[in-house]
Structures are given as C-alpha cells and as structure tokens.
C-alpha cells in the first residue's frame, strides 16, 4: 500500500492509496457540505443537490450520465449526511480514468430548472418513503430534538414544505458557495496508476475557482428533551436516544467507538444480554457517531408498547451502572476483537478503504494506515473508557418515541 497526496493551486486535494494487488478500484468526491450548512429557507438543498448532480451537465443529459456509468458496469451512487456529500464509484481498474473524467464533469452540473422540477417529485417520494420506515423517522426526529438549535439537528431530507418552496436559483447559489475545490477532496483506493489519475484531476479540475467557505463549528451536549408521538398505523414502539460524545477529531474517538460496542452492539453487548436475549425488546443497539467538532451516541430500540417502560428502566440501569462501575477488562477485550475484525474485513475491499481514507482526510487532514488504526484501538485501556463515561454520562440523553396509537 502506498499513499499519495497532491493539492491543486485552487485548493482541491487529491489523495490515493495504491494497492496493485486489488481487482477493483474506487473513486470518490467528498464535498464538505450537508444539512448543517443550510438555513431553514433552504433546508434539504444539500441532499436535493446531490440528486441534481446526476441530472447532467451543459453537455450531458441525465440519460447520458446514467448510460455512461452503466457502459462501464460501475457500481456508483452518492449519499448526503448532516455534514458531508459523497459521490462514489467502485469499478474495474480499466474504467477508472473514464469514470473519474465523468465525475469531474458532473461536479459542475447544469442544474436545469426542468430537471429540478421532475427531481423535486422524486425527493418528495423519498421523504414519504422514510416516513414509512419508523426506525429511520424516529432517528431523524430525535436528532432534531437533541441538537435543539445546533445546525447538526437540521433534517437531511428537509420537509415537503421546504422542498416545495425551494427554487432552482437558490440551489444554484448554494452550489456555487459550497462545491468549491477548496471544500472538496478527490479520493482513490485500490488498483490504479497514481500519476495518470493525478494528471486527469489536474487537467479536469484546475479551472474550478476557490471560494471563502465557512462552517460554524461549535460543540454541543444537546438537550435532554423527551417527546412521544403516537401514530395510527404503527404496530411497535420505536425509541431513539441520543447522548453526547467526542468529535471526529478527538483522540478519544476509538474509546468512544469501543464503549458503544460494549453497551450496544447487536450481539454480546449489555443491551443484548439485558434486553434482547431476554426478549424484552426485539432490537436494541447503540452506535457512536463522530462528527465535525461534535459527536453523539445514537441508541435505537424497538419493542411492544407494553414493554417500553420496562425497557427504558433497564436502559437507565445499564447507563447508571456504566457510569458508576465502568466497563470490565473482558468486555473491552471482546469489543476490541469485534472492532478489529470488522475493520480488517471492511478494508479488504477498495470501496471500504475509500470511505476510511476520505473521512480521515476530511476530518483530520491526515493519512492513517489500517495498522495505525489497529494500534490505536489496541491501545485503548479500561481507564480510558471509564474516564470517557464520566466526561460524557450516557444518561444525559434526549429521547424520541414513535408509538402505536392506543385504541379509544
């Protein structure tokens, strides 16, 4: 594995980790923009814009874009979070240059009003689709509740109202202000020729103009608000809890990730043994989510309404015990084994590697080898985790519950 980096004069950073023995390559454009960079008037624009990137350029129609990807057999897509928009493709090495050139072209989309109006219908369908997935809906609602006025609480999809009100002109302005080369990274992993790729990026992106870009970074410990909403068509109680943790830049992030695994991995965790194994709930999991300058633990629980109170009592006890007595050596050892094997397996695929490579650069401006991550995980001690719990008590959470409406 060989790491390469190059920064263009306009601020675009190109990073790559070459693995000549891989059968595939992966390419990604990481744009440092998302829902937290929006204001209420344009809520949902980052995600909508991600869709519009696929609608073509001055030269390419939407159909030509799709066909150009499909001609290479590439697997490709994009996703938007509260703070990142990522465009990616996993493909055979012989098509990498062609697809990189296509992405470069697409990063300067036409944003035609006519395409904008059709895609608006698709976005509204996507919002409706997630309304029918309460496990997602509850998380989205809880995020807004937890973050209060903090921009990380902005909905990624936006609402039907905000999307309906959004104009193509507002999107074009947002695009100009956020998709500047100094706010983007082009990342490559797997089997590729670095010099060739560096030239393709230089030639294709040098003319992009840099801009002054700003993101308000402020940490938050969130609210401790509690809300419950009943819906007529639900069968189960869906509960989301969010509590504060360390940011993506914090060196304690490895301890935070191990802690969430000890408390809430899908098997073998405290949640598992106390809640799932005893069939009090169908599912209970906790995941640490590191963000730019902030961080949080997300818990999701699904159970019958009859068991909801009992489940929350047990969760309260698990949190209190963790704060009081900390975690054990044995728990930490098992969590490390699980985290390490997941890390190794994920990074065997160029696409898996691309994600870690891109995010490490996005958050840390740093290249980290898999071995470095492995040693950081191995170095975490029980005392580190216990100190983290004291600093960020799990019991300081916001809670949102979506519940079946009671008859009568």
């Amino acid at each position: 594995m060989e790491f390469k980096v190059n920064k263009l004069k306009n601020g675009l950073t190109v990073i790559g980790e070459v693995n000549k023995s891989a059968k595939s390559s992966a390419v990604g454009f990481f744009v440092r923009t998302g829902a937290r960079d929006e204001n209420p008037q344009i809520n949902g624009v980052s995600h909508f814009l991600e869709h519009m990137v696929f609608k073509g350029t001055v030269k390419l129609s939407p159909f030509e874009v799709n066909e150009a990807f499909d001609r290479t057999g590439a697997q490709y897509n994009a996703f938007t979070s509260e703070e990142n928009t990522i465009f990616w493709a996993a493909l055979l090495p012989e098509y990498l240059v062609e697809i990189t050139k296509l992405w470069i072209e697409m990063m300067r989309p036409a944003l035609r009003t006519e395409d904008f109006n059709i895609e608006k219908q698709v976005i509204k369908e996507e919002i409706a689709m997630y309304k029918d997935q309460p496990s997602y809906d509850v998380l989205d609602r809880c995020r807004t509740l937890y973050f209060g006025g903090h921009p990380c609480g902005n909905s990624v999809l936006g609402s039907v109202q905000s999307i309906e009100a959004l104009t193509a002109e507002q999107m074009r302005e947002y695009f100009t202000s956020r998709y500047a080369p100094n706010n983007m990274i082009a990342a490559f992993a797997g089997n590729f020729d670095w010099d060739e790729i560096r030239n393709v990026i230089e030639t294709g992106c040098a003319a992009w103009e840099s801009r002054d870009i700003d993101r308000k970074l402020s940490d938050t410990r969130g609210t401790r608000a509690k809300e419950r909403l009943e819906k007529a068509n639900l069968a189960r109680e869906h509960i989301c809890l969010i509590s504060p943790s360390v940011s993506a830049q914090d060196t304690q992030r490895f301890a935070a990730s191990l802690l969430s695994m000890i408390i809430g991995d899908s098997v073998g965790s405290r949640f598992f043994w106390e809640l799932v194994d005893k069939a009090i709930v169908e599912t209970a999991s906790m995941e640490y989510s590191p963000m730019d300058g902030a961080g949080a633990n997300f818990t999701y629980i699904r159970c019958s309404s009859e068991n909801a109170n009992k489940a929350m009592e047990i969760v309260g006890r698990i949190f209190a015990e963790a704060t009081k007595a900390g975690v054990t050596e044995n728990e930490l050892k098992m969590a490390k084994n699980k985290v390490l094997s997941a890390l190794v397996i994920k990074n065997e695929l160029p696409m898996g590697r691309l994600v870690d490579l891109g995010f490490n650069w996005t958050y840390l401006r740093q290249y980290r080898t898999i071995e470095q991550d492995v040693s950081s995980i191995k170095a975490v001690a029980v005392a580190d985790i216990n100190a983290l719990i004291k600093e960020y008590p799990l019991s300081e959470f916001a809670q949102f519950s979506l519940a079946p409406a009671k008859n009568g």
Partner: protein, 410 residues
C-alpha cells in the same frame, strides 16, 4: 481468473467447498442446514427461525452466556438466516480464529442444549420480528409477494406466522431440529485465507460420525391468487409484483439475467429511466431475478405516494411487456458489462464468495467458476435475448400492495 476451488465429499454425503483468495487476511464460512421454512411441517411456520435463535442459547459444555462470550471473543461478524430450503449460519473473521470458530459451530449444530427456559425468549423474539415487520411495509410486501407467487410450501414466509408460532412447543421444535439437522445433507463452505487440509480434518472429525439420511421430498401445493391488497395508512403504496421465469438450470438462464439487467441493472436501465427519471413517480424502483431450486421469478418493487400508485404500476407492467418488442445492441452491452463487473467486484469479498459457492452447489450440484459465468454472459446476443423473451412472455403477474390505496391490476 485463476480461481482455486476446493471440494470434498464426506462418506456420509456432507459436502465441503472452499475458495482460496489471495491478499486477504479474513475468512468467511457458512453451514447450510437443510431445515428451511419450506422443509418444516404444515402449521409450523416460523419454527426454523426459532431453531436458529435457540441453538445459539447454549451448546456443548457452554451455557447461553458462555457461548455468546466465546463467539464474541473470536471477533466474529455473524451472518446467516432462514430461507426457503435452509438455515444458514456462519461468520466472517480473522483467518487465525477459523479453527476455534468451527469448533463452536460444531457444538451449536450437533450439541445445542435447547433448554425449555431458553425456548420462551427464542420464540418471543421471532414473534416480535414478525410484528415488527408491520412497521416495515417495504420488506413485508416482498415477503407477502413470494408467499403468493410460489406454490406452497415454497412460498412460505421465511419470518414466520404469529398464530403458528404461538402454538409451537419446546418438544415439537426440538424434534424438528433433530429431524432436519442432518449432516449428510449439509453444505459447508469457506472462502478467503484457510488451509483446506486442516479444515477437512476438523470437519470430518466433527461431522463424519453422523450417518446417511435421505432427503425429504416436498409435496407442492397450489399458489396464491393474483392480487392482494393490505390496507395500511402509511405515506406510500408499496407495490410488489412477480412474474415466472426460467430456473438457474435452464439454457435460457443467462438470457433472462441479461434481460433483467436491461430492465433494472443500473440507473440507465428501463425501469429507473421510465418510472423515476422521466416521470418522477418513485424514489425506489427495481427488479431482481429470484430463484429457488424448484421455481424462479422476476420480482419488482416500487414505492410511491397513493395518487401515483396506479400510474407507477401501469408504467412498470408496460416496461416488462415492451421488452420483447425490441432491444438495442447498446443496452444489451450495458447489461452484460454490469453483470460481469458485479461478479468481479463481489469476488473480492470472502463473505460473498462463501455464499455464492454454497448457492451454486445447492442449485446446480457444482460450483461455476467466474470464467464460466463470464463466458456464458458473453454468449448472449440481441437475438438470443429476444428469442428467449418471446418464448417466455412475462405474464401471470402476482401482485401485492400495502398502503392507503388499492390499485387495479387489470
């Protein structure tokens, strides 16, 4: 592509398959146990799911907690579940822990404790899973679709039926596990970094003592009606539709796979183009080839708000029907390259390969090499695909919808 496939059939009939992969430190393994949903007797829908949970609640000299800790201690990424024919259990892990993991799985399969005390929570979790599905109409519609599309018991729900689950007793379920956990008809697969001689020796030692047993023959009954609507006051109408097609053993199999690729391979394929890109009717729309050993179909899903449901359905059916009218060389090539490239991308993952060789062996009695599949895809042409489509017209659609509004299926 220089694949290294290992194969061994034990005296009692159990089959071991392996695919050695260079440049990986991981290994994935799986046991396919002939105890899937369709194999269970009438009135026991969900028993396979209860068994899958229950066998992990203590085995050999370990109780529930000790077994869970031992599995976690090896850093296993567990995988598996229940399908029509099998319960599959397995994991991906670092190669050095393979032998210890196989030892534990040997106990889970051969010496599960299956205590009465652990039966209750195992059953309750499966019941909860079925109830939880009501809040996931997108998943539920496809389960209900397969239930009506395939004749019984092939279509039987792979999650379970609450009424039948409630009646299950530990005695009966224990008997079902014992009758169907038959090493002589198990398939064990491993892919990634491993030593086949060592694996063979270990599996022989664990499973070699079991005697031969003959396979059960399934009595195939009638299939469900053409259309079913399930009322749900959600935001969207979730539409599932399925039409019969050729099985994996048919000479037209690759023509059908290419045809499905043209309908729904990439974003340039017909369904995405006509339903989403041109008309903005859906966010999610797609079709897939779905096969059992006994029958196969093309299954399609679309989710859309109630006012657009009828139009979405009509556009999809029209796209299925009009494929036989004509296809271009270019779209054929796109479909072919899409299939070939996904094959190679999946070949980098030990879990994908372990699953693929197991399915091949079950369906075909042998493992296809990637080269063979590639060659067969290469052989398809505009003519061969059109001939196949005209010979096997898309008809007899089974349709299920979940949502606030019914549609007319014609």
């Amino acid at each position: 592509m220089g694949q290294k496939i290992d194969k061994h059939r034990m005296k009692n009939g159990m089959v071991l398959l392996g695919e050695r992969m260079d440049n990986v430190e991981s290994v994935a393994f799986g046991f396919m146990l002939p105890a899937g949903a369709a194999v269970m007797p009438e009135g026991c829908c969900g028993a396979a799911n209860v068994i899958t949970d229950w066998i992990f609640r203590g085995a050999g000299d370990k109780d529930n907690r000790q077994l869970g800790d031992a599995l976690d201690g090896l850093g296993l990424q567990r995988s598996g579940g229940v399908d029509t024919a099998h319960i599959t259990i397995g994991a991906a892990l670092e190669a050095g822990n393979l032998s210890a993991a196989i030892e534990l799985y040997g106990d889970i399969i051969l010496k599960p404790r299956l205590t009465d005390g652990q039966f209750t929570p195992a059953k309750q979790l499966v019941i909860d899973g079925v109830k939880g599905l009501d809040d996931h109409p997108r998943q539920k519609v496809m389960i209900k679709l397969r239930e009506r599309f395939y004749p019984q018991p092939l279509g039987r729900s792979t999650v379970g039926e609450i009424g039948q689950l409630e009646k299950l007793t530990p005695e009966l379920t224990r008997k079902l596990a014992a009758n169907n956990f038959n090493p002589s008809r198990m398939i064990f697969t491993v892919a990634g970094k491993y030593d086949f001689t060592a694996v063979k020796k270990q599996i022989e030692g664990l499973f070699g003592k079991a005697g031969k047993k003959t396979a059960k023959t399934l009595r195939i009954g009638p299939k469900g009606g053409k259309y079913k609507h399930i009322q749900n006051e959600g935001a969207q109408v979730h539409i599932g539709l399925m039409t019969p097609t050729v099985k994996i053993t048919d000479k037209d199999y690759y023509n059908v796979r290419v045809a499905v690729g043209m309908l729904s391979g990439g974003m340039g394929a017909r369904l995405f183009t006509e339903v989403r890109e041109k008309r903005g009717l859906c966010y999610a729309v797609g079709a897939q080839y779905h096969a059992l050993k006994e029958a196969a179909g093309i299954a399609c899903y679309a989710g859309t708000t109630p006012d657009k449901a009828q139009q979405t359905f009509d556009v999809i059916i029209n796209e299925f029907n009009r494929l036989a009218d004509g296809i271009s060389e270019e779209e054929l090539q796109r479909a072919k390259v899409g299939l070939k490239s996904s094959l190679i991308l999946q070949s980098e993952s030990s879990s994908s390969r372990a699953g693929a060789i197991a399915t091949d062996f079950y369906m075909l009695g042998r493992v296809r090499t990637l080269d063979e599949i590639k060659n067969e895809i290469n052989k398809t042409s505009v003519d061969s695909v059109l001939n196949c489509l005209r010979k096997n017209r898309f008809k007899d659609f089974t349709v299920v919808t979940i949502g606030p509004k019914e549609i007319k299926v014609g």
